[in-house]
């Protein structure tokens, strides 16, 4: 008779049994389901490329205002856009909230977005929405040069990103090349200054041995610590890092460029209604809410981004959106990332 090693299997099975019991308990409480007294649920499914920490409170605000529950799925904008494409007509998504205009443009070009409600569309400035009415921007994100007064006197801050190829910046620049905003900024440079000039700039930047970080937050922290003299990031990271490490530990400042410099690009996050939605009216309400005053004020105050409708002021300390003298480009052209990534790889920066 063979010896059955029950002792070996027992702890594993006990662990599994416990886990499966928990699974049974867990699955009986579905998430994001609000039942009104009549038993009819008003729920929309949101695919959000924006992080939960940033937009979670806004979604709660929306539910309180309208009574519509939001079941949200969070991932990268590009991956979610790919998912919507794969799902096709059976997509459970009602609304797509994207971190950048490129993903929205890609879905719109494939005819996967329905028209945004007209009032919301009209409320957003022409620069910050799609041409064909399918998506609208919800908040603006400006590129800045972040610096630390202790390591870099304000007078020495460059007036243009093109100055960064000067050898005096060797080893003193912090960038995050993996980041979609950086890649969009290089795309904007490509479109406004031409491919040759961009390639030359990238080569010059690489020659200056920039320090590459895994994200924009680490860039800001590195400038704060004095590890690098300046960094190329989005404007709101200063406030995010400030929240994390404490305002009295924050020594960095944002510097906005001017003169149509690509380094002053204003990109947008945005929303679009997925065409296959079965809750078109609820989705339209969501989009309208994002373009309304309470939501825009949320973007201004909580995430310190730029509101895009008239009548909502920006957070103190930020220059007004109209004052930012960024490059003149059509944001839906920022979806030609392929070429940009190729250039970044060739330059050895990616």
């Amino acid at each position: 008779m063979a010896v059955f090693r029950a002792r070996r299997l027992a702890p594993v099975l006990a662990l599994l049994a416990a886990a499966l019991v928990l699974a049974g308990c867990g699955s009986s409480t579905p998430s994001g389901s609000g039942e009104s007294p009549t038993g009819e649920k008003r729920v929309i499914t949101l695919y959000s490329g924006r992080n939960e920490a940033l937009v979670g409170p806004l979604l709660k605000q929306f539910t309180e205002a309208t009574g519509i529950e939001v079941a949200a799925r969070y991932f990268d904008s590009a991956a979610l856009a790919a998912q919507i494409v794969e799902e096709g007509d059976n997509s459970p998504a009602d609304v797509f909230f994207s971190q950048d205009a490129g993903a929205l443009g890609a879905l719109s070009k494939r005819g996967l977005l329905a028209k945004a409600p007209q009032p919301a569309f009209d409320a957003i400035g022409e620069k910050y929405r799609s041409d064909d009415g399918s998506w609208i921007g919800t908040s603006g994100r400006a590129r800045v040069i972040v610096s630390n007064d202790a390591t870099l006197p304000p007078a020495e801050i460059p007036k243009s990103v093109f100055d960064l190829t000067d050898p005096k910046w060797k080893g003193r620049i912090g960038i995050s090349t993996n980041n979609a905003s950086f890649q969009s900024f290089v795309t904007a440079m490509r479109i406004t200054a031409g491919e040759d000039r961009t390639k030359a700039w990238l080569a010059g930047l690489k020659a200056n041995e920039p320090v590459v970080f895994p994200g924009n937050g680490p860039v800001v922290k590195a400038v704060n610590d004095g590890q690098v003299a300046l960094g190329l990031v989005n404007h709101y990271y200063l406030y995010e890092v400030g929240k994390e490490i404490g305002a009295n530990n924050l020594k960095v400042r944002n510097n906005y460029l001017a003169g149509g410099d690509p380094g002053a690009l204003v990109n947008v996050a945005g929303v679009g209604i997925v065409k296959s939605t079965k809750h078109g009216d609820l989705a339209a309400e969501f989009v309208s809410y994002m373009a309304s005053e309470p939501a825009q004020r949320y973007f201004a105050e909580s995430t310190t981004e730029y509101p895009l409708i008239k009548g909502v002021g920006t957070a103190p300390g930020l220059p007004a959106l109209e004052e930012i003298d960024g490059p003149e480009i059509d944001l839906s052209d920022l979806d030609t990332l392929e070429v940009t990534l190729g250039m970044l790889r060739e330059a050895g920066l990616l």
Binding site: A2, A19, P218, R345
Partner: protein, 519 residues
């Protein structure tokens, strides 16, 4: 070999091939001109070389490290042997993105090839370490004694007698390391090494056109197929169960503890565990934001446990027929089935996830984004881990025993339950543990396929790190590693020797059947 076993194994293999079918469908939609432009470019060739170079470098070092560590902790008589054998397996519990973050923060200059090589080696050597310790604990010491009695020193004995017996375990572990490196995305992305997976992901990001990504995926599949076939060839023709009559002698205690050897497990533990632990602690210390959302964390922990355990059970059950078939038969069906189950493993998680999105959203719509599909995704993702674990056990369970039970009047199923099942049980347990901890760490498939609003510890870590809220990431990351450490601990508990109270002579053995391994 029963037809039922073959049919079950074939069914599992077909299921494991779903991502391959998806790639085929999408690739053909792109058109031939685009395909050749993407595939035959110089860049693709360079990319292939880079990814293979990294995978090969990691595999060689991780295999060596795994074998050396296994020998030191099993036979080396270091003090605190039992503790070391558990600690040495623990790096498996660390997700690659956490490990990469840790190494990059500790050694900022270590980006690119060498950073990726170091990180992936330290995190994946347990894939070799675990099966080799099991094999070391299971081999018959009589052969080594005979070799020593012939005058060969310990080193020569190790090389000529022990090492060949460890070859299948080391080779299987090495294959898993190779595929792990090819498919990894988290570490190479953070360390900015341009591997296939990173380029595939960026291709999705860049053009939102699947075709280049899909074509690169197909190329990756072909490479994997080649590697898997090569690995099967290295197995040779040896039979790895004892052909001797009589029982195996238990291994006695071998003298006084050797402290100098302890340097090896200590050094590896400091690097592989100490650096990530130090980073997690620093994250907590640096963060000014206090307060952990315990209820949310608990929910995420439940979610991780539920999905991972269901996935582990399903995968182990699916791997059982495949592993048994591979161990017992050398026919083409057995080899193909086994290779098919490994094939999709080298694909990046996002590709497998999107393939299952494609199939389940269009053809299984009611189940889409429900837990069953996620569990199914874990099965497709981690089948090779389970198959290798079951295989390592199954090759030590001779089919002749089952035949004998049949001749004694037992029906096939009963013979299986009484004879083979207990012998394969350790392999199945190892399979469950391995898939469980891999499921705990999994990210892209979970993000795409889990029910909307379903939290796991891995998604919490990712959510926090993607806004650089490292302090917030520390708690779920720590819980994740601790939770994954439990099955790792179970996997590494060294088995005490058991007495096999029946004779294991081979009926009708060929002449020269006293040898254990075909030279």
């Amino acid at each position: 070999m029963s037809p039922g076993l073959a049919a079950a194994a074939a069914a599992v293999a077909l299921v494991a091939l779903l991502p391959v079918v998806y790639l085929g469908v999408r690739a053909t939609q792109g058109g031939w001109a685009k395909a050749s432009a993407t595939l035959w470019s110089q860049r693709t060739g360079a990319l292939l070389v880079r990814s293979l170079a990294l995978a090969a470098a990691v595999t060689v070092v991780a295999t060596t490290l795994g074998v050396v560590l296994a020998w030191v902790t099993v036979r080396g008589n270091v003090p605190g042997r039992r503790a070391w054998s558990v600690i040495a397996a623990l790096p498996l519990a660390i997700p690659s993105y956490v490990g990469a973050f840790a190494f990059l923060s500790a050694f900022p200059g270590l980006a690119g090839f060498w950073g990726a090589w170091l990180t992936l080696t330290l995190l994946s050597y347990p894939f070799v370490y675990l099966p080799v310790t099991a094999a070391l604990a299971g081999i018959d010491p009589a052969y080594e004694d005979v070799s020593r009695s012939f005058g060969y020193g310990p080193a020569a004995t190790f090389r000529r007698v022990t090492l060949p017996q460890l070859r299948p375990a080391a080779a299987t572990g090495g294959l898993l390391v190779f595929l792990y490196v090819l498919s990894d995305f988290g570490a190479v992305s953070i360390l900015r090494f341009d591997s296939f997976t990173r380029v595939i992901y960026q291709a999705y990001q860049a053009s939102f056109d699947r075709t280049p990504a899909v074509l690169l995926g197909c190329l990756l599949l072909l490479v994997t197929l080649g590697v898997v076939i090569a690995e099967t060839r290295t197995r040779g023709r040896g039979r790895y169960w004892s052909a001797r009559s009589g029982t195996r002698r238990p291994l006695g205690d071998s003298g006084r503890p050797r402290y100098a050897l302890a340097i090896v497990p200590v050094g590896v533990a400091v690097l592989a565990l100490g650096v990530p632990a130090a980073t997690l602690i620093r994250w907590v210390a640096d963060s000014a934001q206090g307060g952990v959302d315990w209820s949310r964390l608990l929910g995420a922990a439940e979610g991780s446990l539920a999905a991972a355990s269901a996935g582990a059970v399903l995968t182990a059950a699916a791997a059982l027929p495949v592993g048994l078939l591979a161990a017992r038969s050398r026919g083409r069906l057995a080899r193909s089935v086994e290779q098919a189950s490994y094939l999709a493993h080298a694909l990046p998680g996002i590709v497998i996830a999107l393939s299952l999105v494609f199939f389940s959203a269009r053809y299984l719509t009611p189940l889409y984004q429900r837990l069953p599909v996620l569990v199914f995704a874990y099965m497709v993702l981690f089948l090779p881990l389970a198959v290798s674990a079951v295989y390592s056990s199954a090759i030590q369970a001779p089919p002749v025993l089952e035949d004998v039970a049949r001749t004694l009047g037992n029906r096939p199923l009963k013979a299986f339950a009484k004879v083979t099942a207990p012998l394969v049980a350790p392999g199945v347990a190892a399979a469950i543990a391995l898939v469980f901890l891999s499921g705990m760490k999994e990210l892209p498939a979970t993000l795409l396929l889990s029910p909307t609003g379903y939290d796991t510890l891995a998604t919490r870590v990712w959510s926090a790190t993607s806004v650089s809220a490292f302090g917030e990431a520390a708690a779920p990351a720590a819980i994740l590693v601790l939770a994954a450490a439990i099955p790792t601990w179970l996997l590494s508990k060294r088995r005490p020797y058991r007495e096999v109270p029946y004779r294991t002579t081979w009926a009708g053995a060929a002449p020269g059947a006293g040898t254990m391994v075909n030279q």
